[in-house]
Subunit: 189 residues, 2 copies
DNA sequence: TTGAAAACTGGCCGATCGGTCAGGCAAGCT
DNA sequence: AGCTTGCCTGACCGATCGGCCAGTTTTCAA
């Protein structure tokens, strides 16, 4: 058992890993610190020793997705409008499919997420991405259609049926392209 | 205060009314029996005297929507395929907009709804409606697109922004018609 | 080897939950 | 007046939650 990683990181990683699984299958509110501790093979006090409260565990679980979303938005914002929309669609579908287990978690805490300032940035990036997907010259209707599309996408990833990653990606892309109008692809060139 | 209704019905109605409001704004799990009792102006024991547990309160709150959905499905099933799809779309949008406050409640209990046999019929009708909206000859892709559409619709009604009923209805119908393929409208006639 | 820092834990706390129970209270029948 | 019936309530229960703390075990550099 010659673990190269220090015990600190080893335990933290295990806690986050098990918490992610439990959150994904049972939801955030329905998962207790004791559940996480048992799954991680430690005591509840250990979880609270490493993380400053249950919300901190959630933040650690969501951190990678948060980073990934931020990067997608950042990349799309540095592109011309037509290409930013295309990139937003493809990358967002990719991201949602990859992180689909965590989407139920997000929706589970959506009503209380305003009280957790750790996730302000996540919410803001989600809104930005919706606007990017709607295209630049989008009016209110197209913006709301984009919101509709995001909701459908999240819901689909939450109950993915028996599709694998690739099939789910194709399905979501098909739906998004039916919903979203291209942002004037031929007007300028 | 000569109420024609007996005290029994009067109190039951008040409890259901207040529970509906609280469920809609805070969710089912986050609403305690004490919250309902306080809002209804009675004690928690009174709520449990009239309803056999918290789930029974939920069932009473959801009952009208359950009936309405059942009727929509029943009507649509007695129509020829092309017309049944059209009716399913229009009536479902109408229903979802009208009952939008309760949609958050549904999504809140979706993960636990399987353990509540009171709602088996509701779930079954929801699936039927999805199939009707997809159209009769729908393959797996179109069926999943229909699921996607329902998810988008529910999500949109959950966070309706500042739209009124008519605007929300138009928005949802527009989105649904972009997503769903007409079920061979001109092949037979 | 040793001693201090880090990692970890059992046990406890206050709060809140859904639910139960014995009894109070007003209304109507006899 | 007495009595039954239905409506309602305060007090209580067991379970569970997130969180805290004193103390024990492990780790590791000196």
């Amino acid at each position: 058992m010659a673990e190269s990683t220090p015990a600190r990181e080893r335990t933290r990683r295990e806690i986050v890993q098990q918490a992610m699984t439990l959150f994904a299958s049972n939801g955030y509110n329905a998962t207790s610190l004791q559940d996480i501790a048992t799954a991680a093979g430690c005591s509840k006090a250990t979880v609270l020793y490493h993380f400053n409260g249950k919300a901190a565990v959630l933040a650690a679980v969501l951190s990678p997705s948060q980073q990934a979303l931020k990067e997608v938005v950042s990349q799309a914002e540095q592109l011309p409008p037509e290409r930013s929309q295309e990139l937003a669609i493809v990358r967002f579908v990719e991201l949602a499919v990859e992180m689909r287990g965590l989407i139920a978690v997000l929706q589970d805490v959506l009503t209380v997420i305003d009280t957790m300032p750790e996730f302000d940035e996540l919410v803001a990036d989600g809104i930005k991405l919706t606007e990017l997907m709607a295209g630049q010259g989008a009016d209110r209707l197209e913006l709301d259609i984009a919101k509709f599309a995001v909701n459908g996408l999240l819901g689909e990833c939450r109950h993915p049926g028996e599709r694998n990653d690739a099939e789910l990606r194709d399905l979501c892309e098909t739906a998004l392209r039916r919903l979203l109008k291209p942002a004037h692809p031929s007007s300028g060139s």
